[in-house]
C-alpha cells in the first residue's frame, strides 16, 4: 500500500515535470535570452512614451473633429470661415518661420582665434561651417524655437555651407565674427552648449573666442523668401491614408 502510494507521488512529480516542460516548449522561441530587470525597465519606458504619444494624438483628433463639426454646423457663416482660415494662416506662418518673433534666449558671439598657428594647422584656429552647423544642432536639441545667424533666420531648409573664408547661410554670405541667436529656454540652451565634449568646449581648446550670453528678449525676423519647388509633385490619388 505504502509502496503504491509512493509510486503515485512519483508519477505526479513526473507529470508536473512534463507539464512545465511542455509549457516552456510552447513559449515564443524568438526570445530565448534571459530578460533582465534593466531591459524590462527600458521596455516599460518605451511603452510609456508610446502611450503618451497616443494620448497626444487622441487630443489632436478630438480638436480636429470639433473643428469639422463647427464647419458643418448651420450657423457657420462666411465670416467665420474667413476668420478661422486667417487664424490658421497665422499659425502656419509662425510654424514656417515667416513671422518676426520675439522671446528670451541666448546669443553666441564667435570670433576666429587671434593666435597665429603654424601654416598647416591654421585651419584649426578658424571657425568652419561645420562648427556653426554643430552649434545649430546643439541648439535644436535644446528645443530652441527660432535660430538666426547674424540676423538671418535659419529655416527648416537653410543650408550652412563653406565659402572659403566665409560661410553661406541660405542666400546670405557672412564673414566672422558670427553671432548666433536662439529663442528658447536660456538656461537649458546654455547648459547644452557648455556640456562636456560639446563643440563649444572643443572650439575653446583651439582658442576660438566664444562668448555665450543669456538675453531676455531677442527679436528674429521672418524668412522673406518663399520656397519654390521644381521637382515636388502632388500625389495624384491624394493623401487618403
Amino acid at each position: 500500500m505504502r509502496n503504491n502510494n509512493k509510486l503515485w507521488i512519483i508519477m505526479i512529480t513526473f507529470m508536473i515535470t512534463g507539464i512545465i516542460t511542455s509549457i516552456q516548449f510552447k513559449q515564443d522561441k524568438n526570445r530565448t535570452d534571459i530578460i533582465t530587470m534593466k531591459s524590462l525597465y527600458e521596455e516599460q519606458k518605451n511603452i510609456d512614451n508610446e502611450n503618451l504619444e497616443i494620448e497626444r494624438l487622441g487630443k489632436t483628433l478630438v480638436e480636429l473633429e470639433e473643428k469639422l463639426k463647427s464647419y458643418q454646423s448651420k450657423e457657420y457663416g462666411d465670416e467665420d470661415i474667413v476668420s478661422s482660415l486667417e487664424e490658421e494662416l497665422e499659425a502656419n506662418k509662425i510654424a514656417a518661420g515667416f513671422k518676426e518673433l520675439q522671446g528670451p534666449g541666448i546669443s553666441i558671439h564667435m570670433k576666429d582665434s587671434e593666435q597665429l598657428g603654424d601654416a598647416q594647422d591654421v585651419m584649426n584656429f578658424v571657425i568652419h561651417n561645420s562648427d556653426v552647423l554643430q552649434i545649430i544642432n546643439d541648439l535644436r536639441s535644446g528645443d530652441a524655437e527660432r535660430i538666426a545667424i547674424n540676423g538671418s533666420p535659419v529655416g527648416w531648409d537653410s543650408e550652412i555651407d563653406c565659402n572659403g573664408a566665409t560661410i553661406r547661410v541660405g542666400n546670405d554670405i557672412f564673414a566672422p565674427p558670427f553671432i548666433v541667436e536662439a529663442i528658447g529656454d536660456p538656461q537649458k540652451l546654455e547648459g547644452i552648449l557648455n556640456a562636456p565634449n560639446s563643440i563649444v568646449q572643443l572650439m575653446k581648446i583651439w582658442d576660438i573666442q566664444i562668448d555665450i550670453q543669456q538675453v531676455d528678449n531677442i527679436t528674429i525676423r521672418g524668412i522673406n523668401s518663399t520656397p519654390t519647388y521644381k521637382y515636388l509633385k502632388k500625389d495624384e490619388e491624394g493623401d487618403k491614408r
Binding site: W8, I9, F14, M15, T17, S22
Partner: protein, 112 residues
C-alpha cells in the same frame, strides 16, 4: 513504467492547457524545468542503484525547482546572474547522472 506514463500525460496536458508563462517569468521557469529534469534523472539513477528513497526524491524535486527559480529571481534583482550557477550545477549533474544510468543499462543488457 507508471512514472513514464505520468510524464507522457504531463507533456500532453501541458500542451493542451491554454496557459503560457508570462514572458517575464519565462527565464525563471526554464531554470525550474532544468531543476525538475535533474531531479527526475537523479531518481532514475537511484532507482537503478536500488537506493531510491521517495522522500528524498520528492523533497529534492520541489525544493530544487523552487530554490532554482527563486535564486534566479534574487540574482536578477541583485544584478548577479545567479542563474548561471543553477545552470552549471544542474547541467553538470544531469550529464553525470545520465552517464551512470547509461553504464547501469549497458550492464543490465550484457547480463542478459
Amino acid at each position: 513504467m507508471l512514472p513514464l506514463i505520468g510524464l507522457l500525460i504531463g507533456i500532453v496536458l501541458g500542451f493542451i492547457i491554454p496557459y503560457s508563462v508570462p514572458l517575464i517569468y519565462s527565464s525563471y521557469m526554464s531554470i525550474a524545468v532544468l531543476a525538475a529534469l535533474d531531479s527526475v534523472f537523479g531518481g532514475i539513477r537511484s532507482s537503478l542503484e536500488q537506493k531510491f528513497d521517495s522522500n528524498i526524491f520528492i523533497s529534492g524535486f520541489f525544493g530544487n525547482t523552487i530554490l532554482a527559480a527563486f535564486l534566479a529571481y534574487v540574482g536578477d534583482r541583485l544584478g548577479v546572474p545567479l542563474y548561471y550557477a543553477a545552470i552549471f550545477a544542474f547541467g553538470t549533474r544531469l550529464f553525470q547522472n545520465f552517464a551512470i544510468i547509461r553504464r547501469h543499462l549497458i550492464k543490465n543488457i550484457l547480463k542478459k
